[in-house]
Amino acid sequence: MTHFRKSIATLLLGLLAGAALADATLLNASYDVARDVYKDYNPMFQKHWKSKTGESLELKQSHGGSSKQVRAVADGLEADVVTMNQANDIEFLADKGLVAKDWTKKFPNNASPYTSAMVFIVRKGNPKALKDWPDIAAPGIEVILPHPKNTGNGRNTYLSAWAWALKQPGGSDAKAQEFVGKLLKNAPLFAAGGRDATTTFMQRGLGDVLVTFESEAEMIAKEFGKGNFEVVYPSLTMQTEFPVAVVEKVVDKKGTRKQATAYLEYLWSKEGQENAAQNYLRPRDAELLKKYAHFFPTVKTFTVDEVFGGANKAFASHFKDGGSFDQIYVGK
């Protein structure tokens, strides 16, 4: 019993000591696959901050599905900053008053330090000659994608196909909906998430094409070898943003505004941008984009703001209950 008590006491002391070592602690609530990006970025920023201010920072990460993370922050998870993969998730925090209403203006580039694009992953040699959206919406092609209603990855694919159809001569919302409906008919399943879709396509050999983030393609190369698949860039695709914001309520309470803001600003520094590029995310820095051009071929992209008038609007008209996705399945 005393032994037990002793170990508890030691444990508590250890925890206190750990907390005392750092001058401040920041918690970054982030989306799932951002792990690699911030695993490399955090030590970089700690070093930068130490040399600049002499302050040692403790940086903690919390990862999960983007909207789950945001709900946790809204319910009281004390995250100083949120780094997400969908603007409407941060909009939700802005609506709740946790994040500034004009959060997209607080940092450059719509508060998104790096971007990606939706691309096709096809089997080696592209045996079905899939080059653009109409090819993968053609009868007899199997398309693998995550659930468009429940995952950011799936929603980006859906909106990319929609935007392509809309931009065709004589394109309209009705025609786009019909086109996306054809594409969805080619999905033998909706994967639970981005990584699940990848596993289904690469490991279980299902489908002719996987639609996913360009950054995911490089992950696949690491995991499954470069020779097993090809990346195809469609004629038009979505430039996906990864917005970041300071959680005003939390930093005011913890007194960490200075550190939190610097933490996000540093994402735009040369080091921060290069780290993004090395994780296969397109940097905003034009020079670096050129330097890493072998990762990032030129592709014609659109943003959600341009075509759909903002992430919130796109979400409301397509993915809310009764939206275009539901109409495709349930009928008008």
Partner: protein, 291 residues
């Protein structure tokens, strides 16, 4: 005769109080909160959400596959439990421990493993698909996942009850001229019936709420292979907490009604058995006399 004499351990009042507080904190409070939240919606709105085409289909998929999984386990779980109790064989302890694995395994791991096995190029799927049987990414896959997850409930509920039936009982039945089938139907089944029902009910209830394993093998196509928990997640993705709660409350109400029904059945079965016991004994005697 007094009630007091039956209590060997003291502290009944304290224990009862503790039980009530414990159950309230753990079960009633969260459920109450959920119902309170749902009551922000009118009854009509809740019905609208529950009776939408997608919701109805999801309710059907969820309840039918849970029922199938629980039934499969009631049958095969009974066999497993019987073998484990009655027959000595090498590696029995190992097999016995295997039964608990579905409890311990994170459900997502179970789902991913099953999907890999049953996919068209998986160990099992590659043999099944030429026969025209598709498991992964079909409603059949949901049943497979739920059967896996709920196996321990039936086996673990039945084992102690089967252990309690001494082999002498079977021998007595046989020596009195009962056939093997009669021994099973008239002697063994009445004794294990209530436990089998309990195991079935537990498996069924667990299957209804299962999410982690199912989403990886179901395919999640609207109207075909979406389960209710997925729709709840889908509502939460839209930050529609009220809608999600509404679905949860409807699910809870139906599950509660079904569990209540199963409990009533079980009570009925147990009592019928009790009341008829003396009769069976005298019938047995009469039979023995005739012989």
């Amino acid at each position: 005769m007094s009630v007091k004499s039956q209590r060997v351990l003291p502290g009944f009042g304290l224990a009862l109080g503790y039980t009530l507080v414990y159950l309230s904190l753990l079960i009633l409070l969260p459920l109450g909160g959920m119902i309170l939240k749902a009551s922000e919606l009118g009854f009509g709105q809740i019905l609208d959400i529950a009776l939408g085409e997608r919701s109805l289909a999801a309710f059907r998929v969820t309840f039918v596959s849970s029922l199938m999984a629980a039934s499969i386990n009631a049958f095969f779980g009974l066999i497993v439990a019987w073998i484990l109790v009655r027959y000595p064989f090498p590696g029995k302890r190992f097999v016995d421990a295997l039964v608990d694995l579905p409890f311990a395994l994170p459900t997502a791991v179970a789902g991913i493993t099953l999907a890999t096995l049953y996919a068209g190029n998986g160990w099992l799927g590659s043999h099944l698909e030429p026969l025209g049987i598709k498991v992964a990414y079909t409603p059949l896959g949901i049943i497979v996942a739920l059967t896996f997850i709920t196996l321990p409930f039936v086996v673990r509920t039945l084992q102690p009850v089967i252990e309690d039936i001494e082999t002498e009982v079977e021998e007595a039945a046989a020596s009195l001229g009962a056939s093997r089938w009669q021994t099973f139907v008239k002697v063994i089944f009445p004794a294990i019936g209530p436990a089998l029902l309990t195991g079935f009910a537990l498996a069924f209830a667990r299957a209804l709420g299962e999410f982690g394993s199912v989403i990886f093998i179901a395919g999640n196509l609207p109207l075909i292979s979406e389960i209710v928990p997925l729709l709840i997640i889908s509502k939460l993705e839209q930050y529609d907490v009220l809608g999600a709660t509404a679905l949860a409350v409807v699910m809870l109400a139906i599950s509660f009604a079904l569990l209540l029904l199963i409990n009533a059945l079980q009570w009925w079965a147990a009592n019928r058995h009790k009341n008829s016991e003396p009769l069976e004994v005298s019938a047995g005697k009469a039979k023995a006399g005739e012989a």
